[in-house]
């Protein structure tokens, strides 16, 4: 129905969840012993837990926990 106004990203506060969609599921993945081994799955799981607990702490969710 509506389209958010387009424009340079710098001029609007981008939702953190949109940023994390890209930074956690996108971007080139470097593997091997030259990088620290932060497994993708672990990272995403950690982040979701942090996000959800943080969101729940600040804003009571109208949804029941699954």
């Amino acid at each position: 129905m509506t389209v958010a106004p387009e424009g340079p990203l710098a001029h609007q506060q981008i939702a953190l969840v949109d940023v994390l969609d890209r930074l956690l599921a996108g971007g080139v993945v470097i593997t091997g012993d030259l990088t620290l081994r932060i497994a993708d799955v672990d990272l995403v799981r950690i982040d979701l837990r942090a996000l959800i607990s943080s969101v729940n702490a600040n804003v009571p969710s109208p949804w029941e926990e699954p």
């Binding site: 080139v28 030259l34 837990r49």
Partner: protein, 299 residues
């Protein structure tokens, strides 16, 4: 100093672009407040900064990632660095929290990924990513209890009030059924609308990728997210793409459509695994959606 941990933000070609990026980055510090510099090797350059081990070594980093405020600051800073570099040249964003051992680690990373980076830079040159999300407005239940109650298989259980307002059991069940069907129809429409939006935009984009629908608990948006997609579009086609998004949004009344971007091509750094025409990429996205739902369901 060449030792210590290095946080990598992006890979670019080692042309004159790293110099321009470095100038632009002079006022854009990295995730630890550190200067971001270009480390060059084999015709490539990686933008990276020295970060303290007490925050970014493997153990501490895992702990830090549980801290929402820390994660947000790092993610937004990472994005700002990538955007700054991307404004000057074609950029391959590196995934969040990629940390190498010293400059030597960065150079080995460039050497190991040399072919992959070169082909990605060729593919992504002159392209930007646009994000499109579509939401279905949550249907408002008519009765106060209709949404919460589990379906009653054999009518209301004994001992509980059978139905509001002295309605007969049969009327009650009929009304419940009608409500359920209306809800299903509406969601059916929005799914169909989302598919139409995605198919149309995929046709305009070089590549498309479906991200998992966003969890309302993360996005803070209560409407059901039925489409969370990224599209790789030539920079010069961006205005036409955005215009098309607006047209599609107006055509599907049951959907609310949001456009974000332009983004650096975060969602398209991986080569097209099918090695087939680009359109197939979008259809593969259902797998990603299913997988992500199973990951995201448990907090």
């Amino acid at each position: 100093m060449t030792e210590g941990l290095r946080y990598a933000y992006a890979v670019v070609r080692d042309t004159d672009a790293p110099q321009a990026a470095r100038t632009a980055l002079e006022r854009v510090p990295g995730v630890a407040g550190e200067p971001v510099v270009a480390v060059r090797h084999l015709g490539l350059a990686v933008l990276a900064g020295t970060v303290p081990a007490e925050d970014f070594d493997e153990g501490p980093l895992r702990q830090r990632l549980d801290d929402m405020a820390w994660l947000e600051r790092v993610a937004r800073t990472h994005q700002r660095v990538v955007d700054t570099v991307g404004a000057e040249s074609c950029v391959i964003p590196v995934r969040l929290a990629t940390v190498c051992q010293g400059e030597e680690g960065l150079r080995r990373m460039l050497a190991a990924g040399r072919e992959r980076f070169a082909s990605a830079l060729d593919r992504l040159e002159g392209r930007v990513e646009w994000g499109v999300k579509a939401y279905a407005a949550t249907p408002v239940p008519e009765g106060p209890s209709a949404a919460q109650e589990p379906p009653a298989p054999e009518g209301p259980p004994a001992g509980t009030p059978s139905a509001p307002g002295g309605m007969s059991g049969r009327d009650y069940l009929r009304r419940r059924k009608a409500q359920r069907q209306a809800t299903e129809r509406r969601w059916g429409d929005t799914e169909e609308g989302a598919r139409l939006v995605h198919d149309t935009l995929s046709g305009l984009a070089e590549r498309a990728r479906l991200h998992p629908p966003q969890d309302p608990r993360l996005s803070g948006v209560s409407d059901r997210n039925v489409l969370n997609a990224a599209y790789l579009v030539r920079r010069e086609d961006s205005a036409a793409f955005a215009e098309r998004v607006g047209e599609l949004a107006g055509r599907t009344a049951a959907l609310r459509v949001e456009l974000t971007g332009p983004w650096a091509p975060y969602s398209f750094t991986a080569p097209d695994e099918t090695d087939a025409p680009d359109e197939t990429d979008a259809r593969d996205g259902t797998d990603a959606r299913d997988g992500a739902e199973s990951t995201g369901a448990e907090g």
